[in-house]
Symmetry: C2
Subunit: 330 residues, 2 copies
Amino acid sequence: MTNTTLKKISEVLGLSISTISRALKNHPDISEKTKQKVIELAKALDYEPNASAIQLRTKHSKIFGLMVPTISNFFYDSFIASVEEESRKQGYSVMILQSSDDPEIERENLKLCRQNRVSGMFACLGSNVTDLSSFLRFKELDTPIIFFDKVPEEEGLNKVSMADKRVGEIAADAIILQKKKSVLSLFGNSNMSITKKRESAFKETFHLRSPSTQLLVEHAIDSQDAARLVHHHFEQHNSIDTIFCMSDEILIGAMKAIQEMNLNIPSDVSILSISNGFIPTLYHPSISYVETSGYQLGKLAFTQMMACLSGSDAMMEMTVDVKYIKGGSL
Amino acid sequence: MTNTTLKKISEVLGLSISTISRALKNHPDISEKTKQKVIELAKALDYEPNASAIQLRTKHSKIFGLMVPTISNFFYDSFIASVEEESRKQGYSVMILQSSDDPEIERENLKLCRQNRVSGMFACLGSNVTDLSSFLRFKELDTPIIFFDKVPEEEGLNKVSMADKRVGEIAADAIILQKKKSVLSLFGNSNMSITKKRESAFKETFHLRSPSTQLLVEHAIDSQDAARLVHHHFEQHNSIDTIFCMSDEILIGAMKAIQEMNLNIPSDVSILSISNGFIPTLYHPSISYVETSGYQLGKLAFTQMMACLSGSDAMMEMTVDVKYIKGGSL
DNA sequence: AGAAAGAACGCAAACGTTTGCGACATGCTT
DNA sequence: AAGCATGTCGCAAACGTTTGCGTTCTTTCT
């Protein structure tokens, strides 16, 4: 069977296509009687408007593009869920793309979004993005682009992210408050702005408030690497009393190492992490963490998108607040 | 700035629209010289074809719809990642929708897919779906629909799922092999066919191979409920030596209860789970599990989709094999 | 009674492509 | 010189909508 069109309905009813179109849109020009007939038949024939035709005619795709390095991630998936939910409410759909951290795929995905004439773009940079030009095309075409989480450092762009500076401060404060003396702190890829911000605020806070604390800073590329680093440092310095993890991925690696070494939390070593909140609660005792909510970030990103679409031309950098969630590990 | 079109290029070059179109598609009718000029200008003007126009003209949307209850799920997200990856390679994009287990939203999402004239549909049923008719519309319109994981029981549909019967058998076998005497087995929503299959195979295997084993069967609606059930039963019967969990969600709840009761694994109690493989490795010792790979299921679903699109009319029910992954918990 | 106003509907263009077919020029064959 | 194949290109229709404007008919006012 083939899809019902306005034409088909018009032929059955002996009316013009435009009348059918207007009737279905409840246009005042059309009489109630006609509207009833049209609506009834449309339902009977299971009419669904052709989105492509509408897009072509109206130039409104009602589709958002959303790109993340990977959707299999406790942070991004809640962000996506949040944006998707909000978009649906407003009659938009979301085209989700994953870049797999590959600049090539990233470009291809952006091209796809442009071909589909997306109404707006949510983008999270991969960790090895050097060339922003494919992203900036959207701006040239007046398509709003909201960067989230891993945002570029350039000025004049719309960005939403966690209050990363605050994240670093709060984490450091929590550790200082417990009078810890020797901290192994594990960060992620050091050329991402998110890492830079968290790391510098973290260090700075220690420098100001507790300069005597021993601070070992390391960068882990993945979970395994984090585990390796923990093993390595515990063999060298048995004085370490606290481990700080910048992300879930790193936390998982660190915890593996700790469990392998059969260390007790928090008597042997304290743990503090930054997380969406899911992974920390899987451990026992549950891990204390600074909460970064993907869900809230999604809401914020969506709000900003809508602001852009309704004409606000103010390029803004917004952040969502964070808080410290005390568990049993620190 | 506005998007470049074939018309714009044709005007600049003093050629017709059709020539531009053919030149960009490397049509043999067009001379090499013209092709060069066209391609060059198209690049300079950053031309990207309008997907809506193409879809309207060719009736090929090159888009797949994919609906899951929620994308924030260790199983689904790998399934999605898998389908998305494969689709991209074949020039398709994926429109991902989440139903939030709400039949209303489910219908809306399906409507959206129809409006976008998706080339095919991947669907995972919500746990309280009673009416399949919105799904079957796709069949009437010759749009292939592949059900995955939570599949309907009706005949004559395309379904891919884990070999759920085997899952139940393997799980039971593993427990029997360890000569366990009293098993608390936690299943999910009992009106989902996936639960039915796993549960009946599980029970049947015990019945045949080890009728003397004490089998306590419970159904948990979520993580918390699972934790509650574990607490409840351990207060009553202190003879339980094994807990079986049908899913990650249930495992997480059960583990929480066990840790709260300060039980040792596996000396106090053994654990066996069914999982994608991520969650079990977070615990120490790592949890033994029967592996159900969302990634592989995605590949299979995609293969079947492509088969449908290339004309195969055989409605098939396919399953992907499972294996037992031994950890330290059983 | 005549004019103006309103109600209900149809015409046709436009959105950006693809594609069958026809048009024209050129070179080659007898 | 006439015919034919070949190489390049343009015309125009079609896909399914939306929408400004025009048309027709009925009603209402003076």
